[in-house]
Amino acid sequence: MLLIKCPYCGERAEVEFANGGEAHIARPADPMALNDEQWAQYLYMRDNPKGLIAERWRHAHGCGRFFNALRDTRTDRFVMTYEMGQPRPDITPEQAAEAAR
């Protein structure tokens, strides 16, 4: 069971959280202006990376807040969590290597 650091509550067990899929996929401001392909890209297509993923979590059984996390999907090791609305953080090669280890 993962140990996840809620930016608001601190470290808690995974069972308190719900994963919300890949982060930084903003809903288009005017969906009707998109063609079908663009809409499908937004709605369904995902990077599904093997390596670093920026993803959303919700502290569903805690404070209820959504936040983002950077995690390596090869190891499930988190680099960091950060508040919703912040851009995807740049991380150092050392941080990336540590997460991949």
């Binding site: 069971m1 993962l2 140990l3 067990a13 719900a18 919300g20 903003a26 809903r27 005017d30 969906p31 009707m32 998109l34 079908d36 809409w39 709605l43 959303r56 919700r58 569903a60 209820g64 807040r65 959504f66 190891t75 499930d76 090791r77 919703m84 609305g85 280890r101």
Partner: protein
């Protein structure tokens, strides 16, 4: 029977406390502290089980949890019988009942052993090559026979009466394994004040020190030193010690699962505590001190009862006071053989010979053995073992220069010990995803780089000599404590006497004379995998060790390869001509040792299996004789039978009561969300398909919610209580999902909106009062509130009080009648319900359940999300296109509704269905076709979503989803059933009061 092989004064069993138990119906005596295996061995009994495939007679090879052979069923009766327990772990107690397994009619004479005669026809993977002809024999003949022959013990057949528990815990340092390394690590960490948990899978801390008579630490014997360390740990408040507790799963982020066995070793029925407990421990730092396993050796007949690991014999002697045999041959690849020989000699056993595979073994222990007259044959191996149900002797043979094996000599023996060297137990380390590395000195895989905050110490780390083990443990314990924020000194212990570590060993099959084409030399004892099976797999092209494992099933028995994996690897590497390091390892999979299902389930059984949500009216409904149904986690009254009515009769009566007078219905389970804030209307506009801006305060609207994929997700009436406040209702099952979805959009897409969402499902009890008399019943109760149709028309909401209790009163109807939904605070729900009920008595008020609710709404053509819709239905499909705010630029799902497939005229649409015969009630789920004579596969046009007998209409009605259904109204389609075809006419889905006169009454 006498314990002829018990050595008085030896061992740690309590010889003042005799214990009687039975095995296969025979009564035996043992002592408190014995395992089933040690107690049986004390009687000279080695035969304890039968193998899986050839049903060969087997005795214990080990004295611990790695035992593959001595598996027994324990416990009396069909509920308590527990199969496949290792006799080497089962602690005896008075009255213990154990039986052998996988034999018929009895252990000594097992007809299944004929399989052994056909072993030439049953090599690895034989079943892939045969049983294919004739084809229909597989299911009917071959497979049942295979299944009957397979399996080991017998599963219990009655529910387990025992209870199980679980606990979460946190600690600074978790130490897995309570041998010398674990004890020193735990003490080093504990002295710093760090919170320490130390666990050991056996009944006592001490590990190898309990079987070691040579070691002297700080002037104490091994066991005495253990006692002193445990005493110090027990006295510390920051330490939790658990024996009979296995660390079996090392998950991500330092979560280690422990299985604590609490009662099996006690007399049955002697305690009210749980049988086992699952611990999930999140440790800041983990120290693995899991020791090493001695390796068996592979030679013909190595599975015969009386052949066992050398350390096991030493443990039986020094820990249990049991001599496993009197005339002993030892096969050695490691100096431990000589220490065992010396211990056995001390109690009068005769060492017939020691065959050491090494060309030039040397050392003090060897010389000591020779001085005592023991014959040591260097460069020698066992060619074969004699005896069937018990070893009678061995043929020892020299390995000649060049590698051939020479002529052998027969040596009589009743015990053959194997000292094949040690394999570090890296299971937990590997589970944690630490990287293993092959250590040339140790001759085995040892922990390399850790993946978690973890340290391996002692034998599992490839450190074998006692002084180094204690130092390794102490250093790691102190370092772990320090890393968790508790600095302290590294304790040191003076070791006064110890054996010198020996890293030598052998992996693979021992050399033998001639070509090894036919020998039964076992690699995996339980599964009867032989050396020639491994070679066959390689010959057939299975070159990956994972393939070898799967093709031969080596390592897949209940010991999960603890004894077999390294030898299998050795044989495969030899056959492949590649060094062991290049062949690789199979994955170590949890659990380390088997864990009871009940332990995982814990308290989650019966009523505690899932939360059981009940409304305030639940017990009232129960008292009224209601029949209930599960709807998501809620328990809802389905109908209220009177005087022995069945559901059909009760529902007819309830329906008519609502239509003619009034009915009362508990709608409290509906989800409720309060949407509040200056941007509440904007938020609602974006979420729901409907337009909300123009909804007046005090008015309600039927809301429909889609997912972004355009399909209906939920629905419910929404009331506007103020410009900035909406009372949103959802389906019973959808409440949590809708709130999550709302929160998702609000927090992540539109954080600029000033809106608050609150689940109020459990704040409000909801009493639905429906029927022509509803207003009459309600009016006197609402403290003067005007609830006339002019003031409170259909689809409106007002706040007021009822009998002094705050109330939100909705004028809504899901029945098609004049109706109210009275929302009162949950704490007052029961009182108000009963008050309304009382007030209604004069008017013939009738309680009704979900089934009647379904019929009434179907008569009106109202959909139920989840019944008419199924996650593939658009608002328009469901006949709710009118609800969609056409002028809105955007809402969740709008863009998807414009996709080609969601606009197809072929889509299934909601229609009403009428059978020709008014009494014929269609089956829900039944399919409709245009041509009932079409050959299979038939083209299906749709299906029946809801179907009832309508007492109001005096006939059956149904709703269905039909391809292009609205355009087909008036047509007849067909429902092909198994025995007949039912013609069905497509009609409008509103069967009753289409003009809504009653609703607006």
């Amino acid at each position: 029977m006498t314990q002829a092989f018990r050595i008085p004064g030896r061992g740690r069993v309590d010889m003042t406390r005799p214990v009687t138990f039975t095995f296969d119906g025979r009564s035996y005596a043992g002592y408190a502290g014995d395992t089933l295996a040690s107690a049986l061995l004390a009687h000279g009994r080695h035969l304890m089980g039968r193998s899986y495939k050839y049903h060969r007679p087997r005795g214990p090879v080990t004295a611990g949890s790695d035992e593959p052979n001595a598996l027994v069923g324990v416990g009396k009766g069909p509920a308590l019988h527990t199969p496949n327990l290792r006799a080497t772990q089962v602690e005896i107690h008075e009255g213990l009942t154990a039986v052998s397994q996988n034999r018929s009619p009895c252990l000594e004479f097992d007809v299944g052993s004929v399989n052994g005669l056909f072993s030439a026809m049953l090599p690895a993977g034989f079943y892939y090559k045969t049983f294919m002809w004739p084809k229909n024999f597989w299911d009917k003949v071959y497979e049942p026979i295979i299944r009957y022959a397979a399996g080991l013990g017998v599963a219990p057949t009655e529910p387990d009466p025992d209870s199980y528990a679980f606990r979460y815990d946190h600690c600074d340092v978790l130490v897995a394994g309570g041998g010398p390394a674990g004890l020193s690590a735990a003490l080093a960490a504990a002295r710093t004040g760090a919170r320490v948990i130390l666990v050991d899978e056996t009944a006592e801390f001490g590990g190898s020190l309990l079987s070691d008579r040579q070691a002297r630490i700080e002037g104490l014997s091994g066991p005495d030193w253990v006692r002193s360390v445990v005493a110090e740990l027990e006295a510390l408040p920051n330490v939790r010690l658990m024996t009979r507790c296995s660390a079996f799963n090392y998950g991500p982020h330092n979560m280690v699962a422990l299985n604590q066995r609490l009662t099996d070793h006690l007399m049955t029925g002697a305690s009210g505590q749980p049988r086992e407990r699952l611990w999930q421990v999140r440790a800041k730092e983990v120290v693995l001190a899991t020791g090493a396993l001695e390796r068996p050796m592979v030679f013909e007949g190595n599975d015969r009862p009386g052949v066992m690991l050398a350390t096991a014999a030493r443990t039986y002697l020094n820990r249990y006071g049991v001599l496993c045999g009197r005339k002993v041959v030892i096969v050695a690849a490691n100096d431990s053989a000589y220490r065992v020989a010396l211990d056995l000699l001390e109690v009068g056993a005769s060492i017939a010979a020691i065959a050491d595979i090494r060309p030039a073994p040397d050392g003090a222990l060897l010389r000591q053995c020779q001085q005592m007259g023991v014959r040591v044959f260097k460069s020698s191996v066992v060619q074969r073992v004699h005896g069937t149900q018990r070893v009678s002797g061995v043929e020892l043979a020299p390995v000649l220069p060049g590698g051939d094996v020479g002529k052998g000599r027969h040596v009589c023996a009743d015990l053959v010990l194997m000292a094949g060297g040690y394999t570090p137990s890296v299971h937990l380390f590997s589970q944690s995803r630490g990287k293993l590395r092959f250590d040339e000195k140790v001759g085995a895989y040892v922990p390399g780089e850790s993946a978690e905050r973890e340290r391996s110490v002692g034998a599992c780390h490839g450190v074998y000599q006692l002084d180094a083990v204690l130092a390794d443990g102490a250093a790691a314990g102190a370092a772990a404590a320090s890393a968790s924020g508790h600095a302290g000194d590294v304790p040191t212990w003076r070791v006064d006497a110890q054996d010198t570590a020996d890293f030598s060993g052998f992996a693979g099959a021992l050399p033998r004379r001639g070509k090894d084409l036919h020998s039964m030399s076992f690699v995996d004892f339980q599964h009867d995998v032989t050396a020639k099976d491994i070679r066959l797999a390689v010959r057939e092209g299975f070159r990956s060790i994972e393939h070898v494992k799967r093709y031969t099933t080596t390592g897949m028995a209940t010991d999960q390869g603890k004894l077999s994996n390294v030898n299998a690897l050795g044989i495969a590497s030899y056959a492949l001509g590649r060094p062991v390091q290049q062949v690789g390892l199979t994955t170590f999979r949890p659990p380390f040792t088997p864990v009871t299902f009940g332990t995982f389930a814990g308290h989650a059984r019966g009523d505690l299996f899932d939360p059981d949500r009940r409304t305030q009216v639940d017990s009232w409904a129960r008292a009224q004789g209601a029949v209930f149904e599960d709807v998501s986690l809620w328990r809802r009254a389905r109908y209220f039978p009177r005087n022995g009515e069945d559901m059909e009769a009760a529902v007819r009566r309830e329906c008519l009561a609502v239509r003619n007078t009034a009915g009362i219905f508990d709608a409290s389970t509906l989800g409720k969300i309060e949407v509040v804030g200056p941007d509440a209307a904007t938020f609602m506009n974006r979420m729901y398909v409907n337009a909300w801006t123009k909804l007046g305060v005090g008015r309600c609207r039927y809301g429909l919610l889609c997912r972004e994929n355009g399909f209906v997700y939920d629905d419910g009436v929404v009331g506007r209580l103020a410009e900035d406040r909406f009372h949103v209702t959802t389906t019973t099952g959808g409440a949590a999902g809708v709130l999550s979805m709302m929160e998702d959009y609000l927090q992540t897409e539109w954080p600029d909106l000033d809106v608050w969402l609150t689940s109020t499902t459990e704040q409000w009890s909801v009493i639905a009062l429906q029927g022509p008399k509803a207003r009459e019943i309600l009016a006197p109760l609402v403290d003067g509130l005007d609830i006339s149709g002019e003031v409170l028309p259909h689809m409106s909401v007002v706040e007021g009080t009822i009998l002094g209790v705050p109330m939100r009163l909705f004028r809504v109807s899901f029945s098609g009648e004049l109706g109210f939904e009275i929302n009162v605070p949950t704490t007052e729900g029961r009182r108000i319900w009963e008050a309304v009920w009382q007030a209604g008595q004069a008017h013939g008020l009738t309680p009704y359940g979900t089934e009647t609710m379904h019929v009434l709404r179907a008569e009106k053509g109202y959909i139920i999300v989840g019944q008419e819709t199924d996650g593939t239905v658009t608002p328009d499909d469901a006949g709710c296109g009118w609800a969609v705010g056409k002028a809105k630029k955007d809402f969740v799902g709008k863009r998807s509704l414009a996709l080609p497939a969601l606009r197809s005229p072929e889509r299934m649409q909601l229609v009403g269905l009428l059978t020709d015969a008014p009494q014929e009630v269609l089956e829900e789920g039944a399919q409709l076709v245009a041509d009932p004579k079409e050959a299979i596969p038939m083209r299906k046009l749709g299906y029946v979503t809801s179907s009832y007998f309508s007492a109001t209409l005096g006939r059956s009605i149904a709703l269905g989803m039909i391809s292009g259904g609205r355009a087909r109204k008036g047509q007849t389609l067909y429902v092909p059933m198994e025995d007949r075809v039912i013609p069905v006419k497509l009609v409008d889905p509103v069967f009753y009061d289409a003009e809504g006169v009653r609703l607006n009454g």
